[in-house]
Amino acid sequence: MALTTTPRRSGTSPDGEQVDAGAAVRAASTGRVGSRVFAGLSTGAGVLILLTLAAVAVFLVIRAWPALTASSEELGDISWFNGDSVAEYVGPLIFGTLLASVLALLIAVPVSVGIALFISHYAPRRLAQSLGYLIDLLAAIPSVVYGLWGALWLLGVVDPFFEWLSGALGFIPLFADYQAPAKNILSASIVLAVMILPIITAVSREVFLQTPRLHEEASLALGATRWEMVRQAVLPFGRSGVISASMLGLGRALGETMAVLMVISPGFLYSFHLLQPGQHQTIAANIASKFPEASGLSVSALIATGLALFVITFAVNFVARWIIARRAEFSGAN
């Protein structure tokens, strides 16, 4: 496509071909060559992006292949391997990854929507921008620092709350069997929730700010209170934006490594005991904890689990972006 626009551009330039003066011809031709080279370079860079994405998939498949095709005896030689095949091994990990991410989403989405509303419709207009910047700061903090914070501070803070929760609601299996250092999946999810809060807030805030002013003023003019205006005008308008923001947050939570690695005490079970340590592990944290000591077939097995994570996050992000793109095409705001 780029190559077809370039000749048109040089064609419309002051008719270089017909003028006989050498300087003009030279200027026009360097212009044309330069344009072609530049167009080629930038198109090449764009294509390189597509190739890189394909290369990620191809290289992961190549490296994972030995483990995917290995017999159960060969896999059994790996000291930490349980199950007969990679699929069987990765099953509880996928479960743990999804559980941690969904819990994080359940915590983060209501809070994020609240913050986004606060910044877009409740805070004093002059303060709103700096308050938004304050929330964006959360996104700038490195994940290993979140890990330290979660492991060395948060675990102590949530401990009395979990104690109470397990005591009062322990008859529900979800909250049963709490044990003192809160190295369970719920703590990990709280850290994940804090980490995905900024992105959900940022996207929701943008959508809320795009609400047509006339809708809001019409609602207020009919005598609605501020909350009624928000419910009637802002939330319906922003619904798809909030959904896609949540999907982006989900994608981020699925792939987050350090926070889970440093907080959770791992286990490989399909378990809904949220407060019990040693029940769950996520794909990313499992790779990070085993990879440095792995060699040979065990590397392949870990890369195979990474491939599964890649496919899951790719699908989630794909759907999220698709919703955003569709909204941009059809929404009346743009």
Partner: protein
């Protein structure tokens, strides 16, 4: 259209005969809630700050809503409750931010010193409190710089393609996949860097460049996005004026478009650097950790700040202090980059562009 679908309230306007709570009522209820929470916890056992604030907030929400319901009616009570919850969500998000910053600063300061910044970890074992992060700082800067050298040209050219040349399905596909690429988990990027280099150079190969390639996979989409945004801000009149003077397209892009957007591009690149400088997982898989300085990107393992902090945390004991100090250093670098980026965009923003 949203307004049409809303159910008509039973009383379409707030009844003017109904009373309003005075303005100071909010503060009165807030104070009352906190005091009541304190007394309640005092009776039950020991009042902690977290407990008093948490219970006080709940008591305030309940008390103010009930009072508003009685005096002002249902609709105003709901409105008041919504305001409380929305404000509460914001304050809730400040808890991790404030506690994290306080914790990193106070815990980090215990080992943070000039010697800590300028020594490495050679010969440090057991409970020794000496040792430092000079090698990790150098490693982090080198690897991040290499990642930037890879991503910035590719990101810049791709953004130019998308804004200046791209039409049709290829450009749409690239735009879409760049967005999807932003969501690649960092650990997968690490596995990619590992797979590429070990397939080519044998399974035992380790070098800083592996980490740099992995990080550039994460950095490139961020660069593309921010540069693209900046290029779109350049007014079309500038391009057209340049074409009208007979300047070829590529020179227009280099001399007019890029020049105008330069400050924004630098800002975007620095924010992208700040984003990846704290990445841990990809470096854990590819570059690992060593105790001494390694200034070659193409040979052997390197130490980096995030991996150093993680390993010291794992080791426990005096390592925890070093982990906090390394975290403090990392956050200082990230904040410095963020601050610089914002200052650059403020100082060098094209005059009258917005």
């Amino acid at each position: 259209m949203a307004v049409d679908t809303a159910p008509a309230p039973a009383t379409s306007l707030v009844d003017p005969a109904q009373g309003r709570l005075p303005r100071w009522a909010t503060w009165a209820f807030l104070a009352g809630g906190v005091v009541a929470a304190f007394l309640l916890l005092l009776v039950l056992g020991n009042p902690t700050v977290a407990g008093v604030v948490g219970l006080g907030a709940v008591l305030y929400a309940v008390g103010a809503t009930v009072a508003s319901f009685v005096v002002e009616g249902r609709r105003r009570a709901v409105d008041r409750l919504a305001t409380t919850l929305v404000t509460g969500a914001f304050l809730l998000a400040l808890i991790p931010l404030v506690s994290l910053v306080l914790l990193v600063v106070t815990r980090g300061m215990t080992s943070f010193s000039w010697t800590f910044l300028t020594t490495d970890m050679v010969g440090i074992f057991g409970d020794m409190t000496e040792g430092g992060i000079a090698h990790a700082i150098v490693g982090t800067l080198l690897i991040t710089f290499a990642a930037a050298v890879i991503s910035v040209p590719i990101g810049l050219l791709t953004a130019i393609y998308l804004v200046e040349y791209g039409r049709g399905p290829l450009a749409r596909a690239i735009t879409f996949l760049v967005d999807v690429m932003t969501g690649i988990p960092s650990i997968v990027a690490g596995l990619f860097g590992f797979a590429v280099f070990t397939l080519a150079l044998g399974p035992a190969f380790r070098a800083g460049i592996m980490g740099a390639v992995a990080l550039s996979l994460l950095m490139t989409p961020v660069v593309i996005r921010s540069v693209e945004e900046m290029l779109r801000l350049v007014p079309n009149e500038l391009r057209e004026a340049s074409y009208a003077l007979g300047v070829p397209k590529w020179l227009t892009i280099v001399k007019v478009v890029l020049r105008t957007a330069a400050a924004g591009i630098v800002t975007g690149v620095m924010l992208a650097v700040a984003r990846i400088i704290g990445e841990t997982a990809p470096l854990l898989l590819t570059v690992g950790l060593v105790t001494q300085m390694n200034t070659s990107l193409f040979e052997g393992r390197m130490a980096t700040l995030p991996v150093f902090a993680f390993r010291q945390y794992e080791q426990g004991g005096t390592g925890i202090d070093r982990a906090w100090a390394a975290a403090l250093t990392l956050i200082l670098i990230v904040m410095l980059l963020n601050l610089l980026a914002r200052l650059i965009s403020r100082w060098f923003a094209p005059k009258g562009a917005r």
